[in-house]
C-alpha cells in the first residue's frame, strides 16, 4: 500500500513538473523542437547540400541561442537517395514516429514535391532550400511549405534573360529528366520566347548521367547559339567538362549553366568554368557577415565553402525558431503562418519577407565565374555582375497559380 502511495506521489510530482515545463515553453510538442534535415547524403547533390545543410541547421540553432532561451532543439538528418518514395517514407516516419516538427533542405524537386504533400497531410512545416521547382509555390503550393533560397523561375529570369539580351536567341536544352529539369526547361523556355528568342531543340537525359557526348553532339548539330543546361550538380559539371572537350564553345556555341553552384565551379576548376554566367541568391564573399559565416562553416565542413543552399538552410531555420519564439507554438501550420507574418532578417540574406504562397523574397545576383588570374584565394570564384532587386527576382504571385492566393 505504501509503495503504491509513493508511486502515486511520484507520478503526480512528475506530471506537475511536466505541466510546469510545458507552460514555460508554451505549446512545444513533447518539449523538443525537432528539425529533420532531409537531404542527399550519398550522391550527386551531396556537396551542395548534404552534410553541409545539417551543419548549417546546427549553426542556426546555436546562433539563435536556443539553449539560453530555454528551448530544446534537436537536429537530425537522413539521406533520401534522390528517390521520392524513400523521401516521403522517411518524412512519414519522422512525423509519425520520431516526432519531427519541421523538415528542411531537401534537394531534388521530385522528392521535395512528395514531402511537401506529406507535410501538408500531417500539418507540419517544410522549409525548402535545396529543391528548385517553382511549382512548390505555384500549382503545388501548400500552407505548410516555404520555398526559401531560389527557384527555377528565378534562375530562368536571371541567367536566361541576361543571355537572351546579349544576343543568345536560339537555344538547345539539355534537360535532366525529372521534375526539376522539366520545370527549369519550361521556365527558361518561357523567358527565351518572351524575349524574342526561339528554342530549336531539346534532349532529356536520365538523372546522374556520366557521359554526355552523345547529347552534346545533338546540341552541336542543332546549330543553336546557346546550349542551355537544365540540370544540376554532377550532371552540370560533366556536361560542361565534356562540352569543352567536344569544342562546343570553340565552334561558336555558348553554354548556359542554368543552375550552377559554387561547389560545381570548384569541381570544374576555374580553367574550365571561367566566364560562365549564373544566378544565385547568396555568395559567401559578399560582405563581412557572409565571410564570417563562410569561415566558420568551411572550418567544420572539410573546407567546402557554403553554397546558397547551405545559407538558405541556415536562414530558414533561424527564422523558424524566431517564429516559434514569437508565436509560442511549434504546430506546423501555425508556425508557417507566423513565419509569413514576420519580416525576415538574418546576416546572410539581409532583410526580406515571405509571401502568402510560401515564396521567400530576397534579391538575386547575376554572377560571372572568374578567370584563374582573377582568383586570389581558394574558393574566390565569383564576381557579381548585377543585382536583381527582390521585387523582380521571383515570379509574381499572380502568375504562379497557387490556390492559396485566390
Amino acid at each position: 500500500m505504501k509503495l503504491k502511495q509513493k508511486l502515486r506521489a511520484t507520478l503526480l510530482a512528475a506530471s506537475i513538473a511536466a505541466i510546469g515545463a510545458t507552460s514555460a515553453q508554451a505549446q512545444i510538442s513533447d518539449n523538443v523542437i525537432k528539425i529533420g534535415v532531409l537531404t542527399d547524403m550519398s550522391s550527386l547533390y551531396t556537396d551542395l547540400s548534404g552534410k553541409g545543410s545539417e551543419l548549417a541547421a546546427k549553426m542556426a540553432v546555436e546562433d539563435f541561442g536556443a539553449a539560453k532561451k530555454g528551448m530544446k532543439v534537436e537536429v537530425i538528418a537522413a539521406d533520401h537517395q534522390n528517390k521520392p518514395d524513400v523521401g516521403s517514407n522517411l518524412a512519414r516516419q519522422w512525423y509519425d514516429v520520431d516526432k519531427v516538427d519541421v523538415i528542411v533542405d531537401t534537394p531534388n524537386s521530385g522528392v521535395a514535391l512528395a514531402v511537401s504533400q506529406v507535410t501538408r497531410e500531417k500539418g507540419k512545416a517544410f522549409l525548402v532550400s535545396g529543391a528548385a521547382s517553382a511549382d512548390l509555390t505555384g500549382k503545388a503550393c501548400t500552407p505548410n511549405t516555404i520555398h526559401w533560397t531560389y527557384d527555377t523561375w528565378m534562375l530562368a529570369n536571371g541567367t536566361g534573360q541576361a543571355i537572351v539580351k546579349t544576343g543568345g536567341d536560339s537555344w538547345f536544352f539539355l534537360t535532366a529528366d525529372y521534375a526539376f529539369g522539366h520545370a527549369l526547361e519550361r521556365d527558361t523556355e518561357a523567358v527565351v520566347l518572351k524575349n524574342g528568342g526561339k528554342v530549336v531543340g531539346k534532349v532529356r537525359h536520365p538523372l546522374n548521367t556520366q557521359d554526355f557526348s552523345s547529347f552534346l553532339l545533338q546540341a552541336q548539330a542543332s546549330k543553336a547559339k546557346i546550349v542551355g543546361l537544365a540540370n544540376a550538380g554532377g550532371d552540370t559539371t560533366n556536361s560542361i567538362k565534356q562540352a569543352a572537350e567536344f569544342g562546343i564553345v570553340k565552334g561558336g556555341q555558348n553554354l548556359a549553366g542554368l543552375l550552377v553552384f559554387l561547389t560545381d565551379v570548384h569541381a570544374l576548376g576555374l580553367q574550365t568554368a571561367q566566364g560562365l554566367i549564373l544566378t544565385e541568391t547568396f555568395y559567401w564573399d559578399a560582405n563581412p557577415q557572409t565571410r564570417a559565416f563562410a569561415k566558420r562553416f568551411a572550418a567544420a565542413n572539410r573546407g567546402i565553402h557554403p553554397t546558397m543552399v547551405h545559407a538558405g538552410v541556415y536562414s530558414a531555420v533561424l527564422h523558424y525558431l524566431k517564429a516559434i519564439e514569437a508565436g509560442k507554438t511549434d504546430d506546423g501550420t501555425k508556425v508557417v503562418a507566423q513565419m509569413k507574418s514576420m519580416p525576415t532578417d538574418d546576416p546572410l540574406f539581409g532583410k526580406g519577407s515571405i509571401r502568402q504562397d510560401g515564396r521567400k523574397i530576397h534579391p538575386a545576383y547575376l554572377v560571372e565565374v572568374k578567370k584563374p588570374s582573377e582568383s586570389k584565394a581558394p574558393w574566390d570564384y565569383h564576381k557579381i555582375r548585377a543585382t536583381i532587386p527582390a521585387d523582380q527576382a521571383f515570379r509574381p504571385m499572380s502568375e504562379g497559380g497557387c490556390p492559396l492566393v485566390k
Binding site: 557521359d211 557526348s213 554532377g234 559539371t237 567538362k241 567536344f246 569541381a267 580553367q271
Partner: protein, 294 residues
C-alpha cells in the same frame, strides 16, 4: 541522306561515341571476366577499383606533380598491389565456398572504399585535365572527334586484344586456363598455382585501375564514378557470358554502340536499354551470347 529520320552524319557520330563508351565497358568487363573465369570470384569491388585508379591519377598529379602518362603506368600497379593484398588476406579464404561469399565480401569492400573516399573527397568530383598532347579535336566531317576520345578507343582495343591473346594463345594463358580446370594437376607439374591466381586477380584489378586513369580526364574524378558503371558492366559480362574473354570484349563495344543509338532515338531509355537486352538474352541464352553451359 537520312536513316530513320536521323541525318546519316549524326548517326555516324553517335556510332563513334557509342564505340568510345563501349571501350570503357570492354576494358572493365574484360577485367571482370578474367577474374571470374580464372578465380570464380564475382568481383563487385571492380567499380571501386576503377575509381581508385582515377583517384590515384588525381592524387599523383595534385600531391606529387606526376602527370597523366606516368599515372597510366603507376596507378594500375599501385591499385593492382592493393588487389593482391585483398586476394591474399581475404579472397583466398573463400575459394572453397559458394560464389555468394566472394560476392558479398567484394560488395562490402566496395561500399567501404567508396564510403571512405566520399567522406574524404565529397561527391561533386575533382578536376583532372586532358594531357597537353591529347588536347584538341579532329574534324571528321560528320563530327568533331576529340583527340583524347580517339586515344581511348585505340588504347582499349589494343589492351583488350593483347589480354585476349595472352590468355587464349600463349603458354602462360594455357597454364592459367589449366589451373582453373584442375589446380592439383597443374601444381603437380611444378607450377605455383596460388601465386598465379593471386597475380591474375592483381592483373584484373590493374585493368580496372587502368580504365579509371583513362576515364579521369573525361568524367569527373568522383568517389561514386564506379558505383553506377559497375552495374552496367555486370550486365555486359552477363550478356557476353560469364568468364568468356572474347564475349566481354565484343559485348562491351557492342552495347556501347547500342546505348549510343538509344541516346539518339529515345534518350530517356538510355540507362535502361542494356538491362532490357540482358533480360532478353537471358531468356533465350541463359549462359550469355558467348558463354558455354557447364
Amino acid at each position: 541522306m537520312e536513316i530513320f529520320g536521323i541525318p546519316s552524319q549524326a548517326l555516324f557520330g553517335q556510332l563513334l561515341i557509342g564505340l568510345i563508351n563501349g571501350s570503357f565497358y570492354a576494358l572493365l568487363s574484360l577485367g571482370l571476366a578474367v577474374i571470374f573465369g580464372l578465380l570464380n570470384i564475382i568481383n563487385f569491388t571492380h567499380g571501386a577499383q576503377y575509381m581508385l585508379g582515377a583517384f590515384c591519377a588525381y592524387l599523383f598529379l595534385d600531391k606529387l606533380g606526376v602527370g597523366y602518362w606516368w599515372s597510366l603506368l603507376i596507378a594500375p600497379v599501385v591499385v593492382g598491389v592493393t588487389g593482391v593484398i585483398i586476394e591474399r588476406t581475404m579472397l583466398s579464404k573463400l575459394y572453397k565456398l559458394d560464389h555468394l561469399y566472394g560476392l558479398l565480401l567484394t560488395f562490402g569492400l566496395a561500399l567501404i572504399i567508396q564510403g571512405l573516399f566520399r567522406n574524404e573527397f565529397g561527391s561533386s568530383g575533382l578536376p583532372y585535365r586532358i594531357p597537353q598532347e591529347l588536347q584538341g579535336s579532329q574534324n571528321l566531317g560528320f563530327m568533331f572527334l576529340p583527340n583524347y576520345r580517339a586515344w581511348v578507343i585505340v588504347v582499349s582495343l589494343v589492351v583488350c586484344l593483347a589480354t585476349w591473346y595472352v590468355i587464349e594463345r600463349t603458354k602462360l594463358g594455357a597454364y592459367l586456363r589449366a589451373a582453373t580446370e584442375n589446380p592439383q594437376l597443374v601444381q603437380a607439374f611444378g607450377i605455383n598455382v596460388p601465386r598465379m591466381i593471386t597475380l591474375t586477380y592483381g592483373f584484373g584489378v590493374a585493368l580496372a585501375a587502368f580504365a579509371g586513369v583513362m576515364a579521369a580526364p573525361i568524367y569527373q574524378v568522383n568517389p561514386l564514378m564506379g558505383a553506377d558503371l559497375i552495374i552496367v558492366v555486370f550486365a555486359v559480362v552477363v550478356i557476353g557470358g560469364m568468364g568468356s574473354i572474347m564475349g566481354a570484349i565484343v559485348t562491351g563495344f557492342g552495347l556501347g554502340i547500342i546505348e549510343g543509338l538509344t541516346k539518339v532515338f529515345y534518350p530517356e531509355a538510355s540507362n535502361t536499354v542494356i538491362f532490357i537486352i540482358m533480360a532478353i538474352v537471358l531468356m533465350f541464352k541463359p549462359a550469355g551470347l558467348f558463354g558455354t553451359q557447364k
